[in-house]
């Protein structure tokens, strides 16, 4: 077979399959998503009573204060930034990331255990001492950073460990909080696959009495 004929076939195959798999297929799927499953296809966005978008049911948010159930530590601070001070332009695209620290890396140990230094600026507080100061019994998920830096969940154990603190700051009964935790726990698929997780954003919205429904 001549070389020109081989090249012609290669180019024609390239273009024909491109139209099929890279144009028709994606646009058909976008249409299916937008027409049949608009809520999911647009990111499971949560809206408040005024109809403003306040987050996504699938994406976590940073919570570190003692008024809210705290979320997991995140290497990108949950893709957030102050619009006045966003040199890295996080808000232009949104980001995700992980620490990628190996178990043997001393930086991981320092981040979790803390590291004293003569110069207080160089000292690292450490996740475990920080949690202990806040009156929370440390659990693994609260000291390790997540895979995506956007993990919407904490373990039920980590949520329960925060009950006394929230009950104190919000003047609520622990039983009320336990109920809220149960209501905002995403269970395993069919009760079998995956691990149960407490959706921190939805739980904290419920704490504020905001509800937050998927649009």
């Amino acid at each position: 077979m001549s070389v020109t004929r081989e090249i012609s076939r290669a180019i024609r195959a390239t273009l024909v399959l491109w139209v099929l798999t890279a144009i028709l297929y994606p646009l058909a799927m976008v249409s299916v998503g937008q027409i049949i499953f608009p809520a999911q296809a647009n990111g499971s966005l949560l809206t408040n009573a005024q109809g403003q978008v306040i987050g996504s049911a699938l994406i976590g948010q940073p919570f570190t204060s003692d008024r809210y159930f705290n979320s997991r530590p995140s290497t990108t601070n949950y893709s957030t930034a102050n619009p006045q001070d966003d040199a890295a332009r996080v808000l232009q695209t949104g980001i995700s990331g992980a620490s990628n620290l190996a178990p043997s890396n001393s930086a991981l140990r320092d981040r979790i255990l803390g590291k004293p230094a003569p110069d207080p600026k160089q000292a690292i507080v450490g996740a475990i001492p920080q949690l202990q100061t806040a009156g929370i019994t440390p659990t693994a998920d609260l000291v390790y950073t997540s895979g995506s830096s956007l993990d919407p969940h904490i373990t039920p154990a980590a949520a329960r460990a925060q009950i006394p603190r929230i009950a104190r700051t919000r003047q609520l009964q622990p039983t009320q909080l336990e109920q809220l935790i149960t209501q905002n726990t995403d269970d395993r698929f069919l009760g079998l696959f995956g691990e149960p997780g407490v959706n921190v954003l939805k739980l904290n919205l419920a704490l504020d009495g905001q509800g937050g429904a998927v649009r």
Binding site: L20, P26, P103, L190, N204
Partner: protein, 581 residues
């Protein structure tokens, strides 16, 4: 802990149940037997063939088949290059991204045309929606279909049939297997919560501090996600791949994605059984990768469950799951299962960061990349498995003094040279040689985790490239600054340039040399006169022979790479148990 083992077991059981169904279907498609989709798709196939200018009966020799792959893949890579270098003015670019550095584009093109999807970039800050769905998503179909075509041509040759026509096989792999399954999977994934939109990111005020805003990246993810798994591609829409809640939000999507990764490479072994009319042998061969898979999952899962001894001591417990780089919804069991499945099958998607996993998980993931047959890549994994079988026939033939024969065909010098060349030589050369160079020049390394783990990072990167896997120990500084970072004053780094260029060579060597060798091997086998079985014939469909093959695989794989494993993950494991003194 029991619940974790239960979900791992049920997931693997599902894979085994799918194998005969999908394997039989794939065999019917490529044996030109009737399938239920014929009335709908036969006209489509005919139209595509006519547009390309191929008559389905145009048979190809091994060399012609390989040449058609080179020409077509080169044309496809050129198309991708045009899209990536011009993304700044092409449509569907809501985040206004300009083109990344030339070496990032070059590495990405080679990485995606070779079915590897090694990513030296972060999706959401580097490539526009159009570059992703019309460029990278396109590669996911054609590179996976190329792999399936090679696998089928190899099976045809092995069973004494003509190899077929590459373009015809390529089209069938897409229209009959990848595209229908992707459509079903994409719809299921959208329903389960994965976005599928052309709209840009959403900005929301955070609940705790409304002055701080969160940017929620979105995109046409679901359709991309399913072909990413089904085609053993592994290139994530977002930087953090299947750990991102928008790529893999819950237990259902994770189950679907895990099973999708294994579905085709495992089914192809059954397809072989139908082609060879020898299902017994197919199931025996199936046991080899399956047993390795189960063994590796057990090792990794126990390591992740027990966790990091240093942190456990600080937490004051004996055991706490190593959740660094893991998502709560997957936990230790699903994270370990996914890591082993994705590295064994050459998918390369991740739900947890392999760099932060325990050393024994590093050991099994690296072993997967070295062996390449724990179901292995799309089409090529099955072909490698049978190439190992041919080597085992040769070795046992030598040991017992019988003429080596496989399926009634004599294994002679050319077959042994091709099989041993493609298994024993290309893979180690493409991994160890560039690793040695990188380790000599500290400026090239970009190692982020010091000590023994640093060696693992370098070896893993080349092993992932040469095996066309695409996962990585992602702490390694292998990425150039994103277009956004470049616009705000970042300068390209020589370390990233080294990684982009050197892994490109491993990617190409690990893809096209073995494919050519496999096709030539299949060609020469298909031309041999069958020899009638006699009392002296070595039977290959026995448990004993399968066991010997497994031994050959482990010995060949382990002996070549064991020194590296000893100095990397094994040394790191000892260091951790010693309490990091």
């Amino acid at each position: 802990m029991l619940q974790g083992w239960l979900q791992i077991g049920l997931t693997l059981l599902l894979v085994v149940l799918i194998t005969p169904v999908l394997g039989r279907y794939i065999a019917r498609v490529f044996l030109a037997q009737k399938t239920r989709l014929d009335p709908l798709l036969a006209p489509v196939d005919r139209l595509l063939l006519r547009l390309i200018g191929v008559r389905s009966q145009d048979g190809m020799t091994g060399w012609q088949y390989a040449r058609a792959i080179f020409y077509s893949n080169f044309a496809m890579a050129l198309l991708l290059a045009i899209l990536l270098f011009n993304q700044s003015w092409l449509p569907f670019n809501p985040t206004r991204l300009t083109s990344p550095t030339w070496d990032t584009n070059l590495h990405t093109i080679i990485s995606f045309i070779t079915n590897t999807n090694q990513q030296h970039y972060s999706g959401e800050v580097t490539y526009s929606y159009f570059s992703q769905f019309a460029g990278l998503g396109y590669m996911m179909f054609v590179s996976a279909a190329t792999g399936i075509a090679v696998g089928i041509a190899f099976i045809r040759g092995l069973t004494g049939r003509p190899l077929g026509n590459f373009y015809h096989d390529l089209i069938l792999a897409i229209t009959r297997i990848l595209l229908p399954l992707s459509i079903l999977g994409a719809i299921a994934l959208i329903a389960a919560g994965i976005p599928e939109t052309l709209a840009g990111p959403v900005l929301v005020p955070t609940l705790e501090d409304p002055a701080v805003q969160q940017a929620i990246a979105r995109g046409p993810v679901a359709h991309f996600e399913i072909i990413k798994e089904l085609g053993e591609n592994g290139g994530g829409f977002f930087a953090i791949n299947s750990a991102h809640p928008f790529e893999n939000p819950n237990g259902f999507t994770n189950l679907l994605e895990t099973v999708a990764i294994l579905a085709i490479p495992s089914a192809l072994i059954y397809t072989y059984g139908i082609f060879a009319n020898n299902l017994k042998q197919a199931w025996l061969v199936y046991c080899i990768p399956f047993a390795l898979l189960v063994g590796f999952v057990v090792v990794s899962a126990i390591a992740e469950y027990n966790g990091n001894p240093i942190v456990n001591t600080a937490l004051g417990v004996n055991q706490a799951v190593n959740l660094e780089g893991k998502e709560v919804r997957f936990g230790w069991a699903q994270s370990a299962l996914f890591a082993v499945v994705t590295t064994g099958s050459m998918c390369g998607a991740v739900t947890g960061m392999v760099d932060s996993m325990m050393p024994l998980s590093g050991l099994v993931t690296l072993s997967n990349l070295f062996l390449q047959i724990v179901f292995g890549g799309q089409g090529t994994g099955t072909a490698y498995l049978f190439a190992y079988l041919i080597l085992a026939v040769f070795v046992t033939g030598l040991m017992v003094g019988r003429t080596p024969e496989f399926l009634g065909r004599k294994i002679e010098k050319q077959e042994v040279v091709l099989a041993s060349f493609l298994i024993l030589l290309v893979h180690p050369i493409a991994i160890l040689l560039p690793s040695a160079i990188a380790l000599v020049f500290p400026d090239f390394q970009g190692i982020s985790n010091p000590g023994f783990h640093g060696l693992s990072q370098v070896i893993y990167e080349y092993a992932s490239a040469a095996a066309n896997n695409g996962s990585g120990l992602e702490g390694l500084a292998d990425s150039q600054p994103s277009p956004i970072a470049l616009a705000t004053g970042a300068i390209p780094s020589p370390t990233a340039l080294w990684w982009n260029l050197s892994t490109s060579l491993s990617l190409l060597a690990g893809r096209y040399i073995p494919i050519t060798a496999l096709l030539l091997l299949a060609d020469s086998l298909s031309r041999k006169q069958p020899v009638p079985a006699t009392a002296g014939t070595l039977h290959t469909n026995t448990t004993l022979f399968t066991g010997i093959t497994a031994g050959v695989i482990v010995i060949l794989g382990a002996l070549t790479f064991f020194p590296v494993l000893a100095l990397g993950p094994i040394a790191e494991a000892f260091q951790l148990t010693q309490g990091m003194r």
